[in-house]
Amino acid sequence: MFDYDTYPDLEDGTVAPDEMTIAPQNNFTSILVLRELESHAIFTTDGQSADLASVAVGSGDDRETYSPGLMFMRKQTGSDRRFGKSLQRDLLDIECTMQVNGMCQDCVECILFGSAASDDADQALSITSRVMYDTAYTLRDATVAIDEKFQNAPGDDYAKEAEATIREPDFFEPGTLFPAVITLRDATPAELAFVLGITAKNKRYGAATSRLGRVKNHILGVYTGSEEGPANLGLTRDVIRRLRDDEATTPETIQDVITESAHDPELVGDHLRQAFEERIDADRGGLDIERVPAETVNDLTAAATGDDLADVLKTQREASRAFRDQSKEE
């Protein structure tokens, strides 16, 4: 469906479906995303407090250490995998779930995102993930990006017993932005389209996703090459510095940027894209990474978010199985 005659830009950084090899090669695709919270969200690992880090940003006189809130890599992988599985159930009737040890190891999602073990004793198989996520950091300090909210679950009886129904979990505020990169290694164009589709369509992350955690993923660009691109941490630092230096914005110091009441997602998106591209040029004297033209990305995303996805997945499934079964011949 996606061949290199139509999309020559993808030849570097992806592999053809019939050339998938079980020994890793250096074909990398980076999807640059800005995740924007459109509602409150809960990202915790203990059920109560948000995960925080301590990050130094800026240099010289204007240097700060701030505490960004974190969107752990697993919060992103978990949600995207569940969404990918449900897409497959809709489109291809594949009954594969996120049950630990219960993965089918036979669908596009399992073979792309990996699966360490299955219930099937006859098929001892471990598949390494070819999609890599990175913990994402808020641009603003936790003091402004996170709010504790008092919750009480009183029930509606007139007479009640005294019960411990009160808790105060940390909520990330709507409008919070997370610069993020998703990296694919040795993926086919169809697998890239699948991940783009998931990224474009998945809108729920974190805990209590049936009520909270609405996220808008702005896909800012796709980059291909023979190596990994910059990491979220460095990009987030760069965006903060760039927002400070931007003449069009009011913040003048790092402190102003990290305590700002809100940032414009579009402006942040522009800065993030430029920060990514600047780092490609600057890191180690230039990383071997090229931007994929927007038309190609739009085509892939359109295929993955439209009716064509079933066909894309069907074709890819054959290639994925052949890829997996290569290991039998060893």
Binding site: I22, A23, P24, Q25, N26, T45, D46, G47, D51, A53, S54, V55, A56, F72, M73, R74, G78, R81, R82, K85, S86, T97, M98, Q99, V100, N101, A124, L125, S126, I127, T128, S129, R130, M132, D134, T135, D186, E227, E228, G229, P230, A231, N232, L233, G234, D283, R284, L287, F323, R324, Q326, S327, K328, E330
Partner: protein, 245 residues
């Protein structure tokens, strides 16, 4: 022709692997063994699909072992940024049964659904040395990527390299950087500190007697080079899993 690089790995997010598992707690030691670094640097290639469940270090590094030696990475500073967190896997099903411990059908099977782990956070700095035989410094530098993925969930780390000068020496010397326990035929003569790690133990410190290489800052004049204690000395025969080959 011999060449060497000082390689600094700066973690960009959490990196974890289980150095030790105590019940539901998994702990990550701040060391990257060279068994992992060969793959991370792209010097050796593993397999996406595994049916053997056996390590294949020797086969995977057969082509590169004579050419390049990578030491394990150890923290540059004593203090490292570690994060302890709880994990909880969720299946995505609308309804799940929460069995009591008495009638859990998966009792006795290792199906980790929740637990705690102590991981390496961002901002940790670890150092390793890459030593090349028959390969010049620029070539060696070009072999290494700008970013690598490490650990069970593939955490990201930035790679910075600095060239080093290589000199030769013989006689008694102190090991300048940790090596794998099977990486040299030379036997330590004293002052030995080892660290038990899987899959290979580390020799963190040791006095040796024999031919060695001295890796030092290349900016100084050859005769003025700091070949004293602050330079890094490695056994001359050092090679990845040498004793296992």
């Amino acid at each position: 022709m011999q060449s060497a690089l000082e390689v600094t790995l700066r973690t960009q997010g959490e990196i974890w692997f289980a150095s030790r598992e105590v019940g539901r707690l998994a702990d990550t030691e701040p060391y990257f063994l060279n068994t992992a670094l060969y793959y991370a640097f792209g010097l050796a290639s593993g397999r996406y699909v595994d049916r053997l469940f056996e390590p294949t270090y020797l086969d995977d590094t057969a082509d590169v072992a004579d050419k390049v030696y990578v030491t394990p990475a150890t923290p540059t500073e004593g203090v490292t940024n570690r994060i302890t967190s709880t994990y909880n896997t969720s299946t995505g099903d609308y309804a799940t049964i929460n069995y009591s411990a008495q009638d859990d059908p998966n009792e006795g099977r290792n199906l980790p659904s929740y637990g705690r782990r102590r991981v390496l956070g961002h901002g940790n700095e670890l150092r390793c040395y890459v030593f090349g035989r028959g390969i010049d410094t620029d070539e060696l530098r070009a072999e290494l990527p700008g970013y690598v993925r490490l650990g069970k969930k593939r955490g990201k780390a930035r790679v910075d390299t600095a060239p080093l000068a290589v000199d030769h020496g013989t006689g008694e010397y102190e090991l300048g950087h940790a090596i794998g326990a099977y990486d040299s035929d030379q036997t330590p003569v004293g002052n030995l500190i080892t660290k038990q790690m899987r899959p290979t133990p580390l020799i963190a410190q040791g006095a040796y007697d024999g031919p060695h290489v001295v890796l030092s800052n290349p900016t100084s004049e050859p005769e003025k080079r700091d070949t004293s204690d602050s330079s890094v000395k490695l056994p001359a025969d050092v090679q990845f899993l040498r004793r296992k080959r």
